[in-house]
Amino acid sequence: MKPSPSAIPAACAIPGTPLSNASAGIDACVHCGFCLQACPTYITLEDENDSPRGRIVLMRALVDGSLPLDDADVRTHIDRCLGCRACETACPSGVPYGQLLEATRATLTRMTPNPFLARLVLFVFARQVLLRLAMLGGRITRATRLSWLLSRLPGRAGFAMAMLESTRSAMRRRHYTPTGDGARGSATLLTGCVMEGLFANTNRATERTLVANGYSVVETPQQRCCGALHAHAGDDDTARMLGRANVAAFEQSGADFIAVNAAGCGAMMKEYAHLLSDDPTWRARAAAVASRVRDVSELLAEAGPRSGGALDTTVTYDAPCHLLHAQRIASPPLRMLGAIPGLTVIPLDGSEHCCGSAGIYNLIEPDVSDRVLAPKLANIAATRASLVATGNPGCLMQIGAGLHQTGARCRAVHPVDLLDASYAAQAHAHRTP
């Protein structure tokens, strides 16, 4: 086995594709393997093809033409990626894995379209009327307790119903009028698709807590879906269309900050400049908008946040991947929880690992998703906390559904709901001394 030196082929076999445009990122990988243990699908499936390093090898093979774009194995392993980007946090070489993944998916879906269910979901999210109808349907199912009944069904349908069921607010209804001086500037909320559709209470809580912490809140009526689901699934044309619409809408709003309470959406919006980089004009406009985007926890942590009334309960915190790994936001949500008197925060083992939600992944790859979720539920159970806080609708529903189906008493809740409840408790205490 005498090694024979040879230069690595430099030619690109797939010019003009999104992947070839992103291929410089592949070169940054030195194959050190530090990403392996950070990757939920590698841990679960135990095959390097289902790891970031393995997928980068496959991407490189596509670029140099040694594997064809319609290779079934490549597609399988690329599809199985959760896109949690935990590998980016572990990567010393700074491989832009999330961008590589999206470029690969965009390239592959041109050859072989996504499965029907995925296309249907993406189709609906891209159309406001259909989306509103779908969310209305969801709320009716939830209100009639049909979701509770159907959540016992086996398989995906049952899990989907459990997800819906889990969106029922874990906190009691809160009535208080926040007061604030607006000195920290103006913020406008990305109301989001699922957030406004199924977590409207959380959106209102977000507005109240922002006001209570010195932000004035303005509305942005023309906003659309952020396009994250489309970008992650390789539908970059639709993602760009939605991105442009949002850039235009948020330019109009004029608010200092664009507050986002869905980590996945925030991560997408912060990368609008990359999404729209094919067009110099839009790129500059997108960069300006993206620079104003903040996760709600960032804005609140910046302000303290102000402490509220006591909540006598226990909570553990699970970091949404798109907050921790994509946006590198680790401590602000914990500072929110820390501002609540009486609240016991119990550390969660493996908080940095994905819960398996990953946008629509749990619908498309249910088996892997379940296996990724299982250790998360076990770790949550081990904390014996009454609540698990996490700031992303996908995670709230995935973990919430898992807790629901396993009969756990623990409920998933958005951190702003907790802070809001604390403020409400304080307001209530003032009213009834």
């Binding site: 005498k2 090694p3 024979s4 030196p5 690595i8």
Partner: protein
Amino acid sequence: MVRRAIGTRRRCQLNAPPVSDVTAALAERVRHAHVTGTALRITGAGHWLDAGRPCRADASLPLAEHTGIVEYEPGDLTMTVRAGTPLDALRAVARGEGQWLPLDPFGHLGGTIGATIATASSGPLSAAFGTPRDHVLGCEFITGTGNVVRAGGRVVKNVAGFDLVRLVTGAWGTLGVLTEVSIRLRALPEIDRTLALETTAGEARRWLRASAYTPLAAEMISARLATDMGIGSRDTLLLRLGGNRALVHAAAESASALAGSRDVDTTVWDTLRTREPADAAVVRLSTSSSQVAALWDRVASIVERAGGHAHATLQRGIVRCMLPVQSDDAEEHARLRGIVGALLTLGSSVVERLPSSLWAKMVPPAASDALSIGVRRAFDPGHVLNPGILGELA
């Protein structure tokens, strides 16, 4: 096909110093022995030879003349030395540079470095510094066919090639005649202080386990041995502390809470090393460190009743028993056989010394498994190096 981005097409040059004349001559003797089928008994200073180990030798291969330091670079804390160099000579040279080889095998202080490595002998300092396998960086040895092999190197970290150094360390010369060794030295500690504490093995072990301090040595001494050495009259812990002044002071304070302690001269360690009588049976029993106090309690009473001495390297789980051999008659051998037999049932055992008539009866072969036989055959196919010394079959 191996696709390779980088590599060496240009071959590097071997830059090894030539084999010394003495080594060449020794190699020639071994080669001759191999061809003629002459079994060789490898001897160093001859101090440790009366171990009673069986050896079917036709001739002796003395290395006592093969002495001297080949290379000593104090800044590297490494020394390359010929195998016949006595440990005490080596110690004197290193001490001149503020360094030492923290290896203190029992027996004569003038035993050779070659014999120490070949027999993997160590003493109380092994608790902190390990055994010969942890000190040897490289060596030169002559295989049973007369090939001169240079394994390892002179640097403190080295994973080039298969580890022949570990292989010949403790092989009792049966895989090769050690002619030169490179060893790692340490800087002498700023303070080197020894305390004697009257305590039990159980208490001592608990203190060691919980303590933040790592002593250089912690040796349990049986009551009779303590009396003999003049350090007390009960079971005694000898604690050797090293480091800077503040550290040693704090460690001594902490140990004093265990039992009344008093300082003893550091020469007590040499006293211990040379304590075993000229005629003695010596057996090392060992177990996991959590079981060592229990082993000590059982062993010490047997040994003391038999008029012998026991001491234990607690962190390593080793209890060493020295039993006097009063005479060379059958009755005495039978008595000894009973005691040693009882001891050998108590833990893992290594027999250091035993009257040769008892050796074959009581000590199972040490290299009788297929891999060991294979290794022996590969390095000494003619079976000419110390044959029988590991109880191995021809």
